[in-house]
Symmetry: C2
Subunit: 106 residues, 2 copies
């Protein structure tokens, strides 16, 4: 997800996680959230990579308010609760303003 | 890499990449860069994940100037040249200011 002509600033949410041993139900909820997020106001794109138990998902947003709205979305909140109770051993979230970017070969 | 008590703003460099078919020499240079970066002024930490050909590496820095210095480091510049000529089919770099963060289970 790279935008070459950058008119407005935008934001990135870096979500790094380590799965717990019991991931029953995780794949299903994860898929649902990936579908749901695409319809949110201000959503630009998402990149997600997993290597064993460790994952990084970076979502891109037009404004901080769009990020807040998504964080308060009811179904998203339910999924996050499941994440804390069951699926994740640990995770961290960093909300960032993209200051500059460049790309090669895209 | 999560800092719970955040006194000063800091910066993240999101590097997403797709490897080309020929990765001869890549592992060696990649290892060298991982060692070299740890001694750079202002370096805070790095997270790196690969899934097949796709990779995400996020490095954290104290200031934008530290990021600039590392980007101009001579050995780093050589490695980047190799990346463009041989190892990467494509990549993107996003330089971000971390505005807010939280963590669970860390």
């Amino acid at each position: 997800m790279t935008r070459h002509v950058q008119k407005d600033p935008y934001y990135a949410v870096i979500f790094t996680s380590k799965l717990a041993d019991n991931t029953d139900g995780y794949a299903e909820i994860s898929k649902k959230m990936n579908e749901l997020v695409k319809n949110q106001k201000g959503f630009i794109g998402v990149e997600s990579i997993r290597e064993g138990k460790n994952g990084v998902t970076i979502s891109y947003w037009e404004t901080m308010e769009d990020i807040r709205n998504w964080s308060m979305n009811e179904r998203h909140a339910e999924a996050k609760q499941g994440g804390k109770e069951k699926w994740y051993e640990k995770f961290s979230v960093k909300i960032c303003k993209v200051e500059r970017e460049y790309a090669f070969g895209e």
